[in-house]
Structures are given as structure tokens and as C-alpha cells.
């Protein structure tokens, strides 16, 4: 029990349970499988982005450009599959390739020129997005191929409500689940993953311990790029239109969700489980407010309050912990 109380995740989980209870009392429709599958599906886009952001935050950096990367990957993918045809695998490959390349550009600037990560990625956000809008003219794409539409409707298993409405585990949700599992294995069981934690804790210590900083940096930013690319594809699957201005501007919301889950901006801290809880909390808030018929105007006020309380609480915990421990810092 004492061990559980030490973890940030425990508190987030508690808040989620309390909220879910309140919402269910007011509207029992919240706790149905149908609503559950719906919410999980519609949050798979934010969820995949959040996985990428978790990696960067753990490594001690920050990435602002991932929304632009997602937009570019999505747009290039859509244009190519419309012009040259293909199937769902080429769509995946295209989105992934664009995402990884743009991530590598970020990593190169950060590693070789030692530019602070926040500055680099704000600059590249503007560059990627600016160039995309200029080349595309900001045009929306509606005419996605039929197979692209059909793929989005696939369900791994299907259930039926009493009224005969079908629902189930969408293929889109399963992409998210797969991504989380792979990311979890990398973070937890590979040398690369441990290197990311080590680098976030202390760059020098990680170098002395024998981690290859260059390779780790490159991996982190290209992985975030890959996640952004996949998220771009998933968003296109969800809404079946490609609008260049629909993703950029959400970067701080995704970072907020990850931070709610306990990842620290100082690096070295954070878990995928925490990130999933953070995204869940935000999803439940938004879905719950709709179900409770609270005006959506209040949404941001609640989210903002929760974030402030959560970060204040964990800062307070950290301070009491630091007071108890005697630390010797060696530069």
C-alpha cells in the first residue's frame, strides 16, 4: 500500500475512478461497453501522439513539431495514394517514412548544433507547416480511395446493443494498442529504452555509463516522428478527410495529457502506463461532460484546473521527499 502511494499513477487512477463514478451516477450510459469502445477509438489519435511525446520527455527533451510532422505525413500519404494508388500497407509505409525523416531532421539539428530542443522544434514546426501550406495551397482532400474508407470500418470483433446497433473493437483502436505494446517493450526491455531513461536523468552519466548518446538521440526523435506519422494516418482514417489545419495547434494539449500522466519535463521520469492514464483522464472529462450535459464551454476550465492541481501536488510531494533525503550533488 505504501509503495502504491509513492506512484503518481495511483493518484491519477484514483481521480479517474472518482470521475467515472460521478459521471455514471448522473448518466448510466457512460459505463457501457459501447461508449467505452467509442471513446477509445476516437482518442487513438491523441493516444499515439502521446506515446511519442512520452519518449521525448523521458529523454529530457521536448518536441513541439510533432503536430506539423503528423500533418505533413498525412498530407503526403493522401496525395500519393490518390495519385498512384496502393493499399493500406503503402499508406502506412508512406506516413511512417515521412514521419521518421522529419524526426531525423530535428535530431540532427539538436545533436550536431546543440540547439535547445524547444527552440529547434518550434522552428521546425513553423518550417514544416509553412512549406506544406504553401505547396498544398491549404486545400482539403476529400476523395480518399474506397479501400481506405473500408479499412477504417473493420472491426476485430463485433457486438450488438439491445436496439440492434453494432459496435466493437475497431482496427483503429488496435493500431493504438499495438503501438503501446511495442513502445512498452522498447522502454522496458531493451538497452535503447534504458538508455533513454539514463539520458534523461543525466546526459553525462549516461555517456560515462557507455550509452551511445548520438544513437539514442536519433532514435528518440525519429520514433516521435514515426508516432506522429502514424497518428496522422490514424486521424485520416477516423475523419476520412485530410485538412492541413486540423492538427497543428493541438501540440500543447497532447503534452498536457502526457504530463498529467506523470512524465516530468526535467527528463528521466515517466511511464507509458502513466501516459495512458493521462490520456484516459482527458478523454473521460470530455466524454463525461457531454454525457452530463455540462456546457462544453467549461471543458478547458476543468482541464486547466486539473493540470494545475496535479502538477502542484507532484511538486509538493517531490519537495517533501527531497527534505527527507540528504543528497550530495557532484557536478
Amino acid at each position: 500500500m505504501k509503495n502504491l502511494l509513492k506512484h503518481h499513477e495511483t493518484y491519477v487512477l484514483l481521480v479517474i475512478i472518482i470521475f467515472s463514478a460521478i459521471i455514471t451516477v448522473i448518466n448510466p450510459r457512460f459505463l457501457t461497453l459501447e461508449n467505452f469502445f467509442d471513446v477509445v477509438k476516437s482518442y487513438s489519435f491523441i493516444g499515439i501522439l502521446a506515446v511519442g511525446v512520452t519518449f521525448v520527455l523521458i529523454s529530457g527533451g521536448i518536441d513541439i513539431s510533432f503536430t506539423a510532422v503528423a500533418t505533413v505525413a498525412q498530407y503526403v500519404m493522401a496525395v500519393m495514394i490518390i495519385r498512384y494508388g496502393g493499399n493500406i500497407f503503402t499508406a502506412f509505409l508512406l506516413a511512417a517514412a515521412v514521419g521518421i525523416s522529419l524526426g531525423l531532421i530535428n535530431a540532427t539539428l539538436i545533436y550536431f548544433f546543440n540547439i535547445p530542443t524547444i527552440i529547434t522544434t518550434i522552428a521546425t514546426l513553423n518550417i514544416y507547416y509553412g512549406i506544406l501550406i504553401v505547396i498544398s495551397g491549404g486545400k482539403w482532400i476529400y476523395a480518399l480511395p474506397g479501400w481506405f474508407r473500408a479499412f477504417a470500418d473493420i472491426r476485430l470483433f463485433t457486438l450488438c446493443t439491445d436496439e440492434g446497433i453494432k459496435y466493437g473493437l475497431s482496427i483503429i483502436t488496435s493500431i493504438w494498442i499495438l503501438v503501446v505494446i511495442i513502445a512498452w517493450v522498447i522502454l522496458r526491455y531493451t538497452k535503447l529504452g534504458r538508455g533513454i531513461y539514463a539520458m534523461g536523468g543525466s546526459m553525462n552519466a549516461a555517456r560515462r555509463a557507455g550509452f551511445n548518446i548520438f544513437r539514442t538521440q536519433m532514435f528518440v526523435y525519429s520514433f516521435t516522428g514515426l508516432m506522429a506519422g502514424l497518428a496522422g494516418l490514424v486521424q485520416a482514417l477516423l475523419v476520412q478527410t485530410v485538412a492541413p489545419n486540423s492538427i497543428v495547434g493541438k501540440e500543447l494539449d497532447v503534452i498536457a495529457a502526457v504530463v498529467l500522466g506523470g512524465a516530468s519535463l526535467a527528463g528521466g521520469v515517466g511511464t507509458l502506463f502513466g501516459t495512458i492514464l493521462g490520456v484516459t483522464l482527458i478523454a473521460i472529462m470530455s466524454n463525461g461532460m457531454t454525457l452530463m450535459r455540462v456546457s462544453s464551454f467549461w471543458y478547458n476550465v476543468f482541464i486547466g484546473l486539473i493540470i494545475i492541481l496535479s502538477v502542484a501536488f507532484s511538486a509538493y510531494q517531490r519537495r517533501t521527499k527531497a527534505k527527507r533525503a540528504i543528497a550530495v550533488e557532484v557536478e
Binding site: 513541439i64 548544433f113 518550434i122 509553412g130 476550465v301 486547466g304 494545475i308
Partner: protein, 326 residues
């Protein structure tokens, strides 16, 4: 110290180069009074917001809530004005009401700054998170208060702040110049300014040197809020309205402008003169491109290129200096 000066020289060179380039490309239009005045009208908002951003970056922090703060502060002022003054038939003594409304707006902004300061300095939340949460919260409040509607119809006297011209110089520019001057005075000549740089370069050292870090940080965030509030007054007066979500795209640009002007993201370094110069670079580039008919989005991409270019040049010149020293 020498390297800081060389940064200003680099910025000066870029400014001159871009100015010359734009003049060559638009020989007939660029130097016309109308265009210069146009540039001067757009600069103040971004400039004041960048000052609000820069002062927190000097302490090693950041303030993501400046745009939200500006919007809430503008909405408070606009609500009081539209409730008490009919713009077509201003009641006698409306001057007092206008001053009261502006003070209320600025106080709101300072209050948000105070809350940020308490979160950062007393509770020890990292500035990025504290102000990110505050940004979302305050944005929410602006939406709740306005219900998404635009509040418009401000009295003429208020419209003068953003649109008026004194001796050929736009009123907004005069306000910006004053505020930039005051900020430079605070940073260079007062104890608070000295302490802001101290806290930014090494908080532990400044603490042992007897500086009250908590008080310095709280004051810094209040100043940041106040400057966002002043930007709000110019903003509502220029648009003749207030609304949730005005100017959101400025947020990341203010960070770019500060860094381009030599402010270090890690804190401790940065000058108002550098910031003003970087703002002029950004403004010349965007006006010049605009005259050339280049898309605004390409301009934004170009800003991104400039910032990376400057950071790369700084990095290389630092490396060269290091090698010379060794």
C-alpha cells in the same frame, strides 16, 4: 562579455541585410511612409508580448499563458466599457470609466501573473507546466465569459490607443517604445533587474548571495502578466473588439523572437535591445514578403529558417572562439 556584443553585431548585420534585400526587391513600395507606418502598427502587440515572454525566460522560466492572459484582460476591459459606455453617445465623465476599465484589465493580467509566480516560486512547479495549465485554465475562462461571442463597440477614445497617430508615429509604437525603455531600465539599473539575471544564471548561488529568489520570481511573473495586459489594450483597440482566442499563433513566435534576440532559453542572458532588433528583423521580413505577394505561411517558414541559422552561426562562432582560447 565580448561574445554577447558579437551577438548584437550579428543581429545588426542581419537587420541591415534583410532591409537592403527587401528594398532591392520592392524599390518603389518598401520605403514609402505608408508601408513604414503599416509595419509600425503591427509591431507593438507582438513586441509587448515578446517582452512578457522574455522577462520570464531571463529567470530560466517561460510563460506559455501570455496570450490567454492578454485575451482575458482585454475581455474584462471590453466588458466594462461596453456595459457602461454607449460608443455613439458617450456619457459625461466617460474618461474616468475608461481609465477604470483599463486598470481592471491590467489588474486581471497581474493577478494571473501573481498566480503563475506562486506556482513557480512557492510550490516549485516547473514554469512550463505551471503556465501551460494556467494557459488552458484562463483560455477556458475567456470562453466561459464570452460564450464564444465577440465583444465589440468600444468608445472612440479607446480606439485611439491602437489606431491613433501622434506626430506621424502610431500610438501603439509610442507605447511599445515606452514599455521597452522601462523594461530596459528595470533590467539594467534596478536591484530587481540584477537579481532576475542572477536567478536565471544560477538560482543556488543567488540564494546563498542573500537574494530572495521567491520574491524575484513572483515579481517577474507579475511584470510578465502586466506586459501581456498592456498588449491586450492595444489589441482590443486595434480590432475594436475582444474575443477568446485572439492572437493564439503569436505564442510560439514570441519565444522565437526572444531567442533570436539573444535571450538564452536556459536563463541568465538576454537584452531588450536584442529583442527589439529581432522583432524588427521579423517585421521587415514579413512586410517585405507581403509586398512581394509571398504567402504568409512561407514567411513563417522563413522565420523558422532564420532562427535555426542564427543558432547554428552562434554555435559555430562559440566553437571557433573556444578553439582560439585553447
Amino acid at each position: 562579455m565580448r561574445s554577447r556584443h558579437s551577438e548584437l553585431i550579428i543581429l545588426g548585420c542581419i537587420t541591415t541585410a534583410i532591409f537592403a534585400l527587401m528594398w532591392v526587391f520592392n524599390p518603389n513600395q518598401f520605403l514609402r511612409i505608408g508601408n513604414l507606418q503599416n509595419m509600425a502598427f503591427q509591431l507593438p502587440e507582438l513586441g509587448l508580448l515578446s517582452l512578457a515572454m522574455m522577462v520570464t525566460m531571463l529567470t530560466g522560466g517561460i510563460n506559455l499563458s501570455i496570450i490567454a492572459t492578454a485575451n482575458l484582460s482585454g475581455i474584462v476591459t471590453a466588458l466594462i466599457l461596453t456595459a457602461m459606455i454607449n460608443p455613439d453617445a458617450p456619457p459625461p465623465g466617460s474618461g474616468g470609466i475608461i481609465i477604470l476599465a483599463i486598470c481592471a484589465g491590467l489588474l486581471t493580467a497581474m493577478l494571473i501573473g501573481l498566480l503563475n509566480g506562486i506556482l513557480v516560486a512557492v510550490i516549485d512547479v516547473s514554469p512550463i507546466l505551471a503556465t501551460l495549465g494556467m494557459m488552458i485554465l484562463v483560455n477556458g475562462l475567456t470562453i466561459v465569459i464570452t460564450k464564444g461571442y465577440v465583444i465589440s463597440g468600444l468608445p472612440n477614445a479607446v480606439r485611439f490607443i491602437g489606431n491613433g497617430v501622434v506626430l506621424g508615429i502610431p500610438m501603439g509604437t509610442i507605447i511599445f517604445a515606452l514599455c521597452a525603455g522601462i523594461m530596459a531600465l528595470i533590467l539594467n539599473l534596478t536591484v530587481l533587474g540584477f537579481n532576475i539575471y542572477m536567478v536565471g544564471s544560477n538560482p543556488t548561488a543567488s540564494n546563498f548571495a542573500g537574494v530572495n529568489n521567491t520574491a524575484v520570481l513572483i515579481k517577474t511573473y507579475i511584470i510578465s502578466g502586466l506586459y501581456a495586459g498592456i498588449a491586450a489594450m492595444i489589441m482590443i483597440s486595434r480590432f475594436n473588439s475582444a474575443k477568446a482566442g485572439y492572437g493564439e499563433s503569436y505564442l510560439l513566435v514570441t519565444i522565437l523572437a526572444s531567442v533570436l534576440g539573444g535571450t538564452s532559453a536556459a536563463g541568465g542572458f538576454g537584452k531588450v535591445s536584442g529583442l527589439v532588433m529581432s522583432l524588427i528583423i521579423l517585421q521587415i521580413a514579413s512586410s517585405g514578403f507581403n509586398l512581394l505577394g509571398v504567402s504568409a505561411f512561407l514567411t513563417i517558414a522563413f522565420w523558422g529558417f532564420i532562427i535555426i541559422l542564427v543558432m547554428v552561426v552562434n554555435f559555430i562562432s562559440a566553437k571557433v572562439l573556444e578553439r582560439k582560447a585553447a
